[in-house]
């Protein structure tokens, strides 16, 4: 049975159909999840797609964090379920404290809309477990608030625990350490600014996003196959990553 993926729709989200289309073409069963839903039972993975959740008022993601669905997303993530935030979804995950750091206005104060090369930095996330470390992908970026910032301690932790998932080869927005995507300690929550769902057809200029979404579907399939009551399968950690985030820390 194909894994079921919930694609969360906030008021102002606008990339949900791209994600549903791309996941469907790759063999997943994707369905839209309205932001007022509080139960994600039956889903094997969750995607927070791009757009302008709640109009991006205050800060991108600042209000979406209080949407009813986010409590369920947090529980789903804490139980080890794959959660991927793309672009605005990445902003929501940082605002919700599911990923450290924040996204700031692009350094050059210009909206970027282009296709950029990125490097896969680790395969220990649900989004990259099927990719090759060191491989290069061409992915579209489309954002005004995509410059990743965090404190020096957080950056050290991200590096030490191998949690930088993707790096820009030609930084388009001034992100710290060329970071295009990161994951949580367990590797099951991933946020990235590029749009893999828009790079799943040669007609759109690149198929390089497919390897990422296929990875997520693979992780979702493991969830779908889990033994009832047997807990969630977790991606294995790289050797030597013994550090951990301070418990209860909201932001870093």
């Amino acid at each position: 049975m194909a894994p079921r993926v919930g694609v969360v729709v906030f008021p102002g989200t606008n990339c949900e159909h791209d994600v549903v289309e791309a996941l469907g073409a790759l063999g997943g069963r994707a369905e839209l999840v309205w932001h007022r839903r509080t139960d994600l039972a039956g889903l094997d993975a969750v995607v927070l797609p791009g757009g302008f959740a709640h109009g991006d008022y205050l800060r991108p993601g600042a209000l979406a964090r209080f949407s009813p669905v986010m409590g369920a997303v947090s529980r789903f993530a804490a139980a080890g379920g794959p959660v991927v935030g793309i672009c605005n979804g990445f902003q929501v995950l940082t605002e919700a404290g599911l990923l450290p750091g924040a996204l700031q206005r692009n350094r050059q104060l210009r909206f970027v809309c282009t296709t950029v090369p990125v490097e896969v930095c680790t395969t220990r996330s649900v989004l990259t477990e099927g990719a090759e470390a060191g491989s290069r992908l061409r992915l579209p970026v489309n954002h005004f608030t995509g410059s990743y910032v965090c404190g020096p301690d957080t950056l050290a932790v991200l590096r030490a625990e191998d949690r930088v998932v993707l790096r820009y080869l030609d930084n388009p927005n001034g992100s710290f350490d060329d970071i295009a995507g990161i994951c949580n300690e367990a590797g099951n929550v991933v946020g990235l600014m590029p749009h893999p769902e828009r790079a799943c057809s040669e007609l759109l200029g690149s198929c390089d996003g497919a390897v990422l979404l296929r990875s997520m579907l693979g992780a979702a399939a493991r969830v779908a196959a889990r033994v009832p009551g047997g807990g969630w399968p977790r991606p294995s950690l790289s050797p030597g990553c013994g550090g951990s985030q301070p418990a209860g820390a909201r932001r870093h």
Binding site: T94, Q104, R105, Q108, L109, V149, G151, R251
Partner: protein, 101 residues
């Protein structure tokens, strides 16, 4: 008692402020020479009811920290003014000095 709160949110020192820098660079062309250290930010104003100034300040600070500012990159400061027991009371005194959150 009712209070008026004004919260100012600015980027933390050390976090790049391209908006402030762009404004600063534009000023000489408009004839404003000698203006430096321009920082862009946001300002919020709201009213709240609380039994006393201390609890009003505490709630306003929590609100600013949980929602109005993202502590990863921003910091907030609060101005609190008591406007009297009734919402429609005349402008009142400054209840306390500006505090850093």
């Amino acid at each position: 008692m009712r209070f008026t709160a004004r919260v100012e949110v600015q980027l933390r020192p050390g976090i790049a402020d391209p908006e402030g820098a762009t404004i600063e660079r534009a000023l000489p062309a408009l004839g404003f020479e000698g203006v430096t250290h321009v920082r862009a930010g946001k300002s919020f104003r709201f009213e709240l009811d609380a039994p006393d100034e201390q609890s009003a300040r505490q709630r306003a600070e929590q609100l600013a920290d949980r929602l109005l500012a993202n502590p990863v990159m921003e910091e907030a400061s609060l101005d609190l003014v008591e406007i009297g027991p009734e919402p429609a009371a005349a402008p009142g005194r400054v209840a306390g000095a500006r505090s850093r959150l």
